[in-house]
C-alpha cells in the first residue's frame, strides 16, 4: 500500500498546507484563523499526528453536531458547512 499510495497522500497533504498558507497570505487572515472551520482543520491535523487508530472515524466525529434534538426548520434550508459551528461553545 505504501508503494502504491504514498505519492497520492503526499500530494493531498501538500494541498492542505498550501490551503493554510493561502489563507495566511490573503486579507482578513486573522478573521479566517478564528473561524470554526479553520480551527477544525488544525484539530484534524492533530488527529492525523496522534498515531491513534480509526483516525477517519475520529475526524468525522469531531466535525459532527453531537446534539440529539431536531433543530428549527428554515425555508429554504441552509447549507451544510462541513464542520459543526458550535463545537467550541
Amino acid at each position: 500500500m505504501l508503494e502504491l499510495d504514498f505519492l497520492d497522500c503526499r500530494s493531498r497533504l501538500l494541498e492542505v498546507a498550501a490551503f493554510l498558507d493561502r489563507i495566511d497570505r490573503y486579507p482578513d487572515a486573522e478573521l479566517a484563523r478564528s473561524d470554526f472551520r479553520y480551527r477544525a482543520v488544525i484539530d484534524l491535523v492533530e488527529v492525523i499526528r496522534s498515531g491513534r487508530q480509526q483516525r477517519t472515524l475520529e475526524m468525522l466525529t469531531l466535525l459532527s453536531d453531537p446534539t440529539p434534538a431536531p433543530v428549527a426548520d428554515q425555508l429554504p434550508p441552509g447549507k451544510a458547512l462541513g464542520a459543526w459551528r458550535h463545537r467550541d461553545h
Binding site: 502504491l4 499510495d5 480509526q54 477517519t56 472515524l57 468525522l60 466525529t61 466535525l63 459532527s64 453536531d65 453531537p66 446534539t67 440529539p68 431536531p70 433543530v71 428549527a72 426548520d73 428554515q74 425555508l75 429554504p76 434550508p77 441552509g78 451544510a80 458547512l81 462541513g82 464542520a83 459543526w84
Partner: protein, 267 residues
Amino acid sequence: MIIDPHIHMVSRTTDDYAALALHGIKVVTEPAFWAGYDRKTADGFADYFEQLTVAEPARAARFGVRHYCWLCLNPKEAVDLALAWEVLQILPQYLDRPSVLGIGEIGLNRNGANEVKVLEWQVEMAAERNELVLVHTPHMEDKLKGTRLILDVIANEPRLHPDRVLIDHAEEHTIRIIRDRGCWVGITLYPLTKCTPARAVDMLETAGFSRVWLNSAADWGISDPLAVAKAGAEMRRRGIKPQQISDVLYGNPVSFLSQSPRFAAPC
C-alpha cells in the same frame, strides 16, 4: 455484471447511459430527489413521478440498461408541511407502477423538526403498504445526528422490519450504528461530500462485505456515473477475492432489491 442502486439518471446525458452499459452496469435504481430547485406545487411532483416511471425506463432501455425507481417526497423539500401533505396524497397512485421498488430517498437534510415529521409520515406509509425503504442521510456535520434520528424513527415503526430498510450515504462514523440496528448499508462514491472508491473499500475491509452496497448517486452535481465500476477496480487492485467483489457490486443489491416483487434480477 454491476448494479448501480442509487443514481439520478434524469440529470445525466444519454452518453452516460452508453458508458454505463459499456462498463457492465446493466441495472440502475433511481430514487426521487431534489431537482436543484424547490418545486412549488404537487403537480410538479406528479410530473417528476411520471418522468421516473415512464420516460426514464424507456430512455435506459435504448442502451440495454434496466431502470427501476423509488418514489417519495425528498427531505430537502419537506420543510413546507402543507405542500408535503399534498404530495403524499398523490404519491400512492404511482407506487404500484411496474418499475417502482419502494419509497425513497426519504430521510433528513438539516435535521429539522418538520423534516422529521414528514419522514415519520412516509415511514408509516411504507409500513402500511409493505414497501422497501431507501433512506438518505444528511451531509457532513449533520450526518451522525441525522442518522441517529432516522434510526429512531424507523425503530418507532414496529411494522417496518429493518431488513427492508437501506440507510444510504454511510461513512466511517455511521456504518456501525446502521448495522447495529439491523438495516442495510449504502456507501456513496461522490467527490468532496461523501467518499472516494479507496475510502469505500477501506470501510468494506474494516466493517465487512455483507448487507452493504456501493452507489454513485451521480446527479446534476460534480459526480461520476462510473464510480461503482471504479470501486470494483480498486478492490481488484487490493487483491480482494472476485466473489467478494461480485457480492458487493451485484449479489448484495440483488438480495436487498429482490424483497420487492417488482424487481427481477438480470441473468
